[in-house]
Symmetry: D3
Subunit: 336 residues, 6 copies
Amino acid sequence: MGKVVTLGEIMLRLSTDTGIRLAEAETFHAHYGGGEANVAISLANYGHDVTFASKVPANNLGMAVKRHLQRYGVSTEALLVGGNRLGTYYLETGVGERGASVIYDRVGSSFAQMEKLEWDLANLFKGVAVFHVSGITPALSLKWQELTIELIRYAKKAGCKISFDSNYRKKLWSQEAAGATMRKILPYVDYYSAGKLDALYLLGIAPINNQSKPEELSYYYQEIQRLFPTISVLYSTKRRVRSASANDLVGTLWMNQKYYESNCHEINPIVDRVGGGDAFTGGILHGILQQQEPQAMVDFATAASAMKHTVQGDCNPFSQQEVADFLAADSGKINR
Amino acid sequence: MGKVVTLGEIMLRLSTDTGIRLAEAETFHAHYGGGEANVAISLANYGHDVTFASKVPANNLGMAVKRHLQRYGVSTEALLVGGNRLGTYYLETGVGERGASVIYDRVGSSFAQMEKLEWDLANLFKGVAVFHVSGITPALSLKWQELTIELIRYAKKAGCKISFDSNYRKKLWSQEAAGATMRKILPYVDYYSAGKLDALYLLGIAPINNQSKPEELSYYYQEIQRLFPTISVLYSTKRRVRSASANDLVGTLWMNQKYYESNCHEINPIVDRVGGGDAFTGGILHGILQQQEPQAMVDFATAASAMKHTVQGDCNPFSQQEVADFLAADSGKINR
Amino acid sequence: MGKVVTLGEIMLRLSTDTGIRLAEAETFHAHYGGGEANVAISLANYGHDVTFASKVPANNLGMAVKRHLQRYGVSTEALLVGGNRLGTYYLETGVGERGASVIYDRVGSSFAQMEKLEWDLANLFKGVAVFHVSGITPALSLKWQELTIELIRYAKKAGCKISFDSNYRKKLWSQEAAGATMRKILPYVDYYSAGKLDALYLLGIAPINNQSKPEELSYYYQEIQRLFPTISVLYSTKRRVRSASANDLVGTLWMNQKYYESNCHEINPIVDRVGGGDAFTGGILHGILQQQEPQAMVDFATAASAMKHTVQGDCNPFSQQEVADFLAADSGKINR
Amino acid sequence: MGKVVTLGEIMLRLSTDTGIRLAEAETFHAHYGGGEANVAISLANYGHDVTFASKVPANNLGMAVKRHLQRYGVSTEALLVGGNRLGTYYLETGVGERGASVIYDRVGSSFAQMEKLEWDLANLFKGVAVFHVSGITPALSLKWQELTIELIRYAKKAGCKISFDSNYRKKLWSQEAAGATMRKILPYVDYYSAGKLDALYLLGIAPINNQSKPEELSYYYQEIQRLFPTISVLYSTKRRVRSASANDLVGTLWMNQKYYESNCHEINPIVDRVGGGDAFTGGILHGILQQQEPQAMVDFATAASAMKHTVQGDCNPFSQQEVADFLAADSGKINR
Amino acid sequence: MGKVVTLGEIMLRLSTDTGIRLAEAETFHAHYGGGEANVAISLANYGHDVTFASKVPANNLGMAVKRHLQRYGVSTEALLVGGNRLGTYYLETGVGERGASVIYDRVGSSFAQMEKLEWDLANLFKGVAVFHVSGITPALSLKWQELTIELIRYAKKAGCKISFDSNYRKKLWSQEAAGATMRKILPYVDYYSAGKLDALYLLGIAPINNQSKPEELSYYYQEIQRLFPTISVLYSTKRRVRSASANDLVGTLWMNQKYYESNCHEINPIVDRVGGGDAFTGGILHGILQQQEPQAMVDFATAASAMKHTVQGDCNPFSQQEVADFLAADSGKINR
Amino acid sequence: MGKVVTLGEIMLRLSTDTGIRLAEAETFHAHYGGGEANVAISLANYGHDVTFASKVPANNLGMAVKRHLQRYGVSTEALLVGGNRLGTYYLETGVGERGASVIYDRVGSSFAQMEKLEWDLANLFKGVAVFHVSGITPALSLKWQELTIELIRYAKKAGCKISFDSNYRKKLWSQEAAGATMRKILPYVDYYSAGKLDALYLLGIAPINNQSKPEELSYYYQEIQRLFPTISVLYSTKRRVRSASANDLVGTLWMNQKYYESNCHEINPIVDRVGGGDAFTGGILHGILQQQEPQAMVDFATAASAMKHTVQGDCNPFSQQEVADFLAADSGKINR
């Protein structure tokens, strides 16, 4: 099993029960998560040696984050302690036609306010196969735009493969700013999670007409790869949102100059879709680390993502065996 | 924003969690609601100045009602305190093929036992644009049949528009009694919520053949209007009950001699359908008070009703902006 | 109403909320159940005089079992107290594509470790119309293979009709062992719950080609009856597992040399499917005891089974009237 | 073990969690209880053959009552089904200095509105050793004042010992009315639960000076016995209310012309004091039926009452063995 | 009843169940509160016309605050909507020897970041009898030190009595800064809540020797009044912290040149002590507005404070009648 | 910080809410714990490098154990996976006079059924400062009596200090068997947790008269040390059980030929006393590893134990800093 470092912000999510609005809620459920932390947990569950690097405040919420990560066997040696606060967000769960609604309260967090790279980088990246980071990190501050690139360069030089998840969030930065930064990052990237919208609006790739055919995504993947030839793997999910309670999910992968796609998973009902994309990324990186065949890789990753939708919380708690059994099984039966 | 008075009974609902039967339940959820109170809350949430008139006992359940109404900004100045008890009902939530089951325990309530109009009517209706009442109130007692008409006459004279929701409940009175009373009420009514069944069985309108076509409802609306020409707006929802967990909902409106219909909302899963009709009425009255276009009015009202089905409790807690966003949005997405 | 004895193991089920995994669960729901106990409760709810015979430990878990059975009016006079422990199992509820997962922890239970028939059999079977037992009991130990046959012989001699539910569980014994034992049991059996898989793999009946047609099941039922001519009633459910949250259910019955089938119930969402088969058996035995027409019997039994899926817990808590109302009703409506 | 019949009203109690007020509560806990029902359950738990006679409505709340009683092995053969409603009451649990507060909503219940004795009395009292009833029953209506006496006369004639619990409730009737009725009842009574306040205010016994000494209660017991010489056993608890969370409890007994008193139980914290008196009565009647020594009887009954305070709900769920172990044990230890 | 304005920050409190630590908690309870908001609710519950002025963000947490205040009848006309976030804090409830622990996360809140007085002050203070503010507000920013004085001057000029609660919080500012600001505020103050520690460390009053005697507090109250002669009423509670679960509470009052003290309330167990001081202040201001006798005033206020400790949440939900009944009652009894 | 290995069984505890009996409970709380696991977690929380060695089944309950330990930073490298089941026990929480009651269901567990030492012992004990085990392990089977001694010998030889907690459980073995085994173990032991009862009944030390004086315990400690001179540290807690809800706790220590005792902690209310002794042991071992002064050591350990009583669950979740702050603080205050 490979050694992996993921780095990013981790937040406290406060959510209500389905059918209860935030403004009347008497209790909130507490979950801890963030894109890179969720990927770290997936990989640790599959048996990899994973470290999550971040910064949390020196209080019991910081301790909660530490315990959350340790619970799944993620190393917290690079979890810095200090700064002012843990970023939080409030989630009013969607149901049926009504989508979820989110209030972000992440400004001023210990991680977002970092001014320099406080980790011992030489030590952090020693023997690491893959370094994973996402587009949320450079979106947190101008300083983090610099720091993210600095990190990636350092990791690349230290021999890591660079995994980057686009994860564009319009509430954090503009398409222009994101595009400019990403174009600086992508020349170092090996594995890139991005889709048609990233290609069109962040990377300025010209549109193509035949929509919603597999060929369409192949085109964008190829175009991205043409622009950034270090990228060897491209992947993303296609989600058909029937309602907040029912989605269809297909995983896609571009690898070895070929397009792969999983079967479609009808996810109904959705228990919690937060972290569904991260579970997919976790599955893909696992496949890469395990040197699986591309089709097996995208099937596994999509199954992992579909399974994530069936449990509360941001992270995917299933083991490699459980995902494999899910893939193999007729679905929905009691196993007795 | 307009000034509105609604008047009627408000009850304590005691319900079980989905999948738990009443006879084994260890806990009941408490909600307070009633048709006219629910309409009052909808309108207050949309920014109108609303008073709910009723009577509750001088104990902490009466206090609970007061706090429930105030929470949403409904004035409780006309909430009389006295009498013997708060009406209650028990709801065993339905699921899938199994419909909900209800035990009414409302006999002898403070409101039902009123013998005269104890409000200062002159004050109650001063400056009021719309007075809303439903067919449940005259069904509570012979005395209330008289009092309801007295109230409506007084309000009409005071310059209010009269809004009346048919709300026929066979457990409370016969079709004959209801029809006779409603025929006395309708000559004063401006806005009337009723459907085909009301037309056929309460108002004695002759049936028409071409069922389940829009033209059918137009016919009944026109016939009602012919009988009671003061009515300028007629409206109701058409609900296709796929199961206790999934309904299709369409709103209909007759206004300016024309029939309007909303898109169909596929409500799946239903979190709580109690109050769905009241949310629709609240939306229509809001449209009238705001002088919206009929199509916008019925679209908004149906959206509000569909949203109500996604939250626990009898009342619709959404603001005008939230309903408008829901109408505009692709449904079911996380907004981040 | 008839007098019935059912006999078997009853266990504590510890299950998690939907969307919560066992390994992270902070609370477990406790339910008590077992095939024969569930049938006993169904029949008691329909007004029959039912005794459940089993053995539970002399502690508060044994007391819990007693209270569970008494709550529904099942006699616990034949509930022996002693031995080492109550069998338990852990259920991680399935949802959508992800099936439920079960951990059995039933070895060494008070019932499974019984070495002889400790009941006063003469008294137990006095005046009893039907004795019901299932294939789980002989699967518990070699000793129980002997004891089960001994019991059935005794009951038969005492004038009881013998009801037997195949209930093959591959985790408990092999197809060979099960088939051998069942072939010893079936010559005494009057009412037999079994399906195509039992016919093929336990009873060695040759397969037939025209699959998924009603004629197919008729064939297997006839073949079974040919082998064991004392059997007068054969029945089972056909379940189409769309997902762990949605199943289609049809009840089938072979009686008076004729095949009967219920309408199909679309069960969506499933609240708890454990005990769904036992609820069907309870309905069939009720029909037999009431001498209902075969079609009414299978319709009632399937409705009872579908209703069971809408409530938490192993047993079917509905009364005969409630099942009848469910059958008669348009589904999914609020009854007010 | 003896055969016992208790008769009275049983109600649904709706209570809030400690620290949550009724007017803001989102959930209520449901418990079923009533003085005579609670005594019935205590005695059934001790192994006696007990029937509880009452009347409940033909709905799922009536069913809930039936299941509650059956759960503890109380026969519901004399539980009539019919009438309008189940009496309810709301309990806002007290804590520390703040006492509990109660809203009664029991008017018009199926039991209270009974107009005649609908049971088959000959059958009801056949072979019954003790018939137990309390002063709440005649307080429910003028009709019930007659019916209670009629019942007691019938039971006495049928050979039952009559057990009567004074249970004076000032919210239900005046001291005058209660005193008059009780003076008609007491000439038939064998076992009487009453205290100093009953003696003074209901039975008009002259006060005595030396307060709070054992001799004081002896005086009142003797005076009562002098007036009603059929009474052979008198008993009650003395409760020192330190706060709503902490009480001291002593049981007292007058028997064989002698005064007995238990040790003092320091009950802290109180989990739920409702039914504490009924648990004491259950213990005394058990002692009588078992022909225990008076000191053992009052010790057992007081222990049972103290134990009741440590569990949620109206009834005492402990077995005879558990009460005996509690009496024998050093308190408060883990038994492992 | 008088007209009152209170002004300050209101926050979301996220707390755990007793015995559950923050770092492992899966759910948080949500309560909304702040010193001045809590006082506003107390006064509204006693029947006064109260407005709470503050600023909350334009999201559903801001809406939650509005609904919380309205629920108790507090006017939210001066509740501004805007800015970045709602201040929050996390509370790990204390129990026994272990005190509560708090994580503040209030920096950058909509209220704290106000740069000018955005209310229409002329309208806000029109006809207002008392304006209440606390020492937390000037502690929020340098700007708020200015704004607080500006507000108080404006209110004073508009004819309000000024009520000021010292509420010194060492985590927000130093004793020097607090003392300097308070010395600027106190010349305008009429009713001042402060104690010995305020006198010593903020106002620089010389210590006196005879500790823990009533005379001691009289001395400090007199010294404060000597320095700031506009102050006509001084008050505070004396709390003996036996443990986090048990406190003794005495209310003290200096008025008409005389010292008054309530009886001691033994509060055990404490359900929630947050807001206990605000409930006391609410009681004192109610007494002033009602022109009660000083002894009655301090007795009522202390009772209200003691009652607050028995309920969850920051605010005191009891009515004037309930507090009066509590004062009159023997404590801890069921009232039936 | 030192390196520590603890070894023993870990079980699933299923407990009810206070005031809810096992036989009626609808939910159980799940906690994982065992003496040696609890000590491991305490030491990990204090910053030590701790490994817990045990064996759990290859299912999600085994996974739950792993996640529980990892959450607190305990290494699970020596957590073997295999065998039949996880030992469980049921706890009905005590309250007031009523003690807790426990049902053990631990027979046949993966750990108890081990037949040989399956760990790589050379690796397990490499660089380990302290090896901790308790008297429960040899009580599990005759095989474990041998294996325990084998383990201790190996560890001793590998250079570990041996820590042994007597932990005598009469339900597992007789005093004779325990005494015989312990006398074989103690010659290897360095740190021994035992008290007067161990001295008298297991080790056969003659009693001494002056009870309940500090000198008494000194006598027994000295006698034990005389018999087993390798023991350098002896310790235990003295607990005065006022009730199941209130205990007084004093820690005692014999070290450097001197007796030390902590202050008395009044623990009221007790939230959960399970694991209180293990928290004390954890504190003592921390003191030893940190080379603290004996008085500081016993004060810290007793504080840690007292704190454990204030939280749910078997393990002590507090950090060294939190225990130190607790020791230093005036108790029971809100820290703001």
